[in-house]
Subunit: 476 residues, 2 copies
């Protein structure tokens, strides 16, 4: 058993600030009080212990209260990604079969699910008492999140209390815990990158500064003001902050501790520019199935091991499958999901106790993990492996290139060949890029086509969706 996270935290440090949003502030005591109040209203509407509740909402303080309310009631949360299409959402609702759906605003979507309430409808009913559990079982499912799913239908991943707690413990032992820490949360709360910040907050007694969504200017303003010490990001967010800082000649203050950058490899070029701007970037390797981080670079290694995602955190174990230097990354530990819901329920995510991620990487002689690529994105061209990330990294080295996405297209001769999608920030031409790239990469890795686009397809947490790049090809 573990203690009821929010109640224990509210009893330990009731007056510490749990949440800041614009000019508003919630202490842990107030957050606990509002969570119980909302839970009693959910209870009035029929929700109770053991039920499954799907939530579709934007990141704001009310969503945090609603999430905690559902946890207090003893319900499982299905966290829906509000950037999905209605078809995708309806699939997840059908697959996870929640007892209720709770949404912040009906008008955003028309979903084919009958047992639903809006936040306002619940807010307006009376409270009905329920017994708050003092302790929670470790095995309890806290959240269900559908993975981005690179092949086939997305799967609903169960994240248990133990998954979240052990993940947060491992992260604490790596990053340290300071009573004055404050985490800037610009990641969506329905995604593990955002939700894990919420878990750390109640577990550590740490303040969250919440932004509804990522805005580079707003994030930088917050960081420069000295109010926050940590932040989670993906590579593209880092790049956007770098561009702003560079244009203004600004750097991060020394009080800021680290940006934890996950969601795929970070181009070395970004890491080098980050050093110039005094941004302590710690690469991490995490995913929905591991309730966030599995490896994260330690601060002391940030410069020496540039490009690495670090070592496995205290309770985590990683091995590389196969006989070659680069192989599939496999993960073990108490932070790894025990399984799925819905159609995939009978699928065991583990093979001999190890999660086979489908991601490719290697460990250097000192045990640092380098994530090379997502296996499903691998382009096999004439028997040679081409890692899209490598080609993308080469492209963004060009001063006119802001972002790049690379994928494979079918080719009669080679099987697949790489194709590049480029967002520009300066003047260049296809010809100039081809010349530039020839200096960077072997001939078989050269993109055969270049598409100049305004933006790249990204998921709710700004991770590049390479398989979506195909849609561009189909449409040309």
């Amino acid at each position: 058993m573990y203690p009821n996270l929010l109640m224990k935290r509210a009893s330990l440090t009731p007056d510490r600030v749990a949440l800041r949003f614009n000019e508003q502030e919630w202490t842990f005591a107030r957050l606990a009080e509002e969570a119980i109040e909302f839970a009693e209203k959910l209870h009035t509407k029929g929700m109770e212990k053991g039920m499954r509740i799907a939530i579709l909402a934007s990141s704001n303080p009310k969503l945090i209260v609603v999430m905690h309310a559902c946890m207090q009631l003893g319900c499982e949360l299905v966290l829906l990604n509000e950037r999905l299409s209605e078809e995708e959402l309806n699939y997840q609702l059908a697959d996870s079969a929640p007892d209720y759906l709770v949404v912040d605003d009906y008008n955003k979507r028309s979903l084919s699910f009958s047992n639903k309430y809006s936040f306002d409808e619940i807010e307006n009913v009376g409270r009905s008492f329920f017994e708050v559990e003092k302790d929670w079982t470790k095995e309890r499912t806290i959240t269900i999140m559908y993975t981005s799913g690179t092949t086939g239908r997305p799967k609903g991943v169960r994240q248990s209390l133990e998954n979240h707690v052990m993940n947060a413990t491992g992260s604490a032992l790596n990053l340290g815990v300071h009573p004055n820490d404050c985490w800037l949360c610009t990641m969506p709360l329905f995604h593990i990158s955002g939700f894990s910040i919420l878990m750390r907050s109640v577990y550590y007694g740490m303040t969250i500064n919440l932004h509804t969504k990522f805005d580079a200017e707003a994030a930088i303003k917050e960081i420069l003001s000295g109010t926050v010490t940590r932040m989670s990001a993906v590579a593209v967010m880092l790049e956007r902050m770098l561009t702003v800082l560079e244009s203004k000649g600004l750097s991060f203050p020394n009080t800021f501790q680290s940006v934890i950058v996950g969601g795929g490899p970070v181009p070395l070029n970004y890491l080098e520019r980050a050093i110039e701007r005094n941004i302590p970037v710690l690469q991490t390797y995490g995913m929905t199935e591991t309730a966030s981080q599995t490896t994260t670079l330690a601060s002391e290694d940030a410069l020496r091991k540039l490009g690495s995602a670090g070592k496995p955190l205290f309770f985590a174990d990683v091995r590389i499958d196969g006989n070659e230097e680069i192989g599939e990354i496999c993960i073990k530990g108490p932070h790894v999901t025990k399984g799925y819901v819905g159609a995939a329920e009978s699928t065991n995510p583990l093979v001999d106790g190890w999660l086979h991620t489908g991601d490719m990487g290697y460990m250097d002689e000192e045990g640092y993990l380098f994530v090379v690529d997502r296996r499903s994105d691998l382009i096999i061209s004439g028997g040679e492996n081409i890692y899209p990330a490598e080609v993308e990294q080469a492209l963004v080295k060009h001063p006119a290139v802001k972002e790049a996405g690379v994928t494979g297209k079918l080719d009669d001769k080679w099987g697949r060949v790489p194709v590049a999608f480029v967002v520009l920030k300066g003047e260049t031409s296809e010809e100039e890029l081809r010349t530039f790239m020839k200096k960077q990469l072997a001939p078989y890795k050269q993109p055969v086509d270049y598409y100049f686009v305004d933006q790249l397809p990204r998921n709710g947490s700004n991770k590049l969706l390479r398989r979506e790049l195909f849609n561009y090809i189909k449409n040309t």
Copy 2:
């Protein structure tokens, strides 16, 4: 399963300093290497996984290596208190029935145990390989320590890996973890107050500065030099440091984080003087059966809740038994021992899942624990309860009193009456003290006898042994 603590730590941060002793320094990599080397020598001598090894030695780096070596081999450690009499040690050896006894120096004691080796005898043999376990079970017994035992024979308490890890986790969430933390260890390593620092060191990746024993001048010198940030102590050690600081007009530097003071209530007078000397004192309530801390005051409450031992740490739960405000302190959590070895093996330390400590205390309306006294020390006089600690606190308020110990003596009329043992630091008389005390306490709490002594009886961790005070009475 948890990872093998030392091996995981050495793989995560091999170059961080694990241990400093005088001018010597051990990184985690070196400590792991020396532990394995010594373990292979123990193995040569016949020790192997599943065995029980008793250790009798002074606090020094070699003892740390030996302790880690035994853990690496997969053995249980019986940690013997070197300040005990030979009779007491022989009892503990007979009761715990270890497979081997390992001592730093034969000449110190003549123990009736045949299967024994000195550190040197082991050092001088060759190494024989054994398979180092990558993971350890949570239930595994790491250490066995005999409790000071206020009544009857001392009991050998099993401390499991989970006990130690969860205790260290709860402490980390309260105190915070900083990569630059360094804990000054002047407590004996065979006692939970010292051994728990060793566990935190490998778990957090934190440096220990080791002193063979507590010396107020040496501790203050170390703290003033800025090399350490934390320290564990008991009340009398705090008093000795205060006296030195006051005589020299010195205060602790701001870089120092906290002195964790356990082993019984701390007189308010000491706490107030500590504030004057910029010593951040955090009272804690812990014991052998809970692998160290159960409650510890948080830094932010240090001044507001002076005299309290704080709130139950994240994974710990505390309740007060009985119907009165002051009752027996009961403890629950993953840090609580699962049981004893030897004669007490069949005794379940828990009643309905709660450890009944025999200690008396209360919780205020905000949930802060105040430890009033050890129940077994309670003096019941004419039906009234007298808590020795309360009388002692009153005594040390007098400017000439350095330390005080109070216990009960048999009395025909009242059952028991309090008797005071006083160590002076200035000029005073029995008459003056009596007059002083009448202003402080109710008539029935007044000591009937005063004994002026040079020192008070204390155990290996400097905790006052009130039952030993009786010996003074017998001898007068």
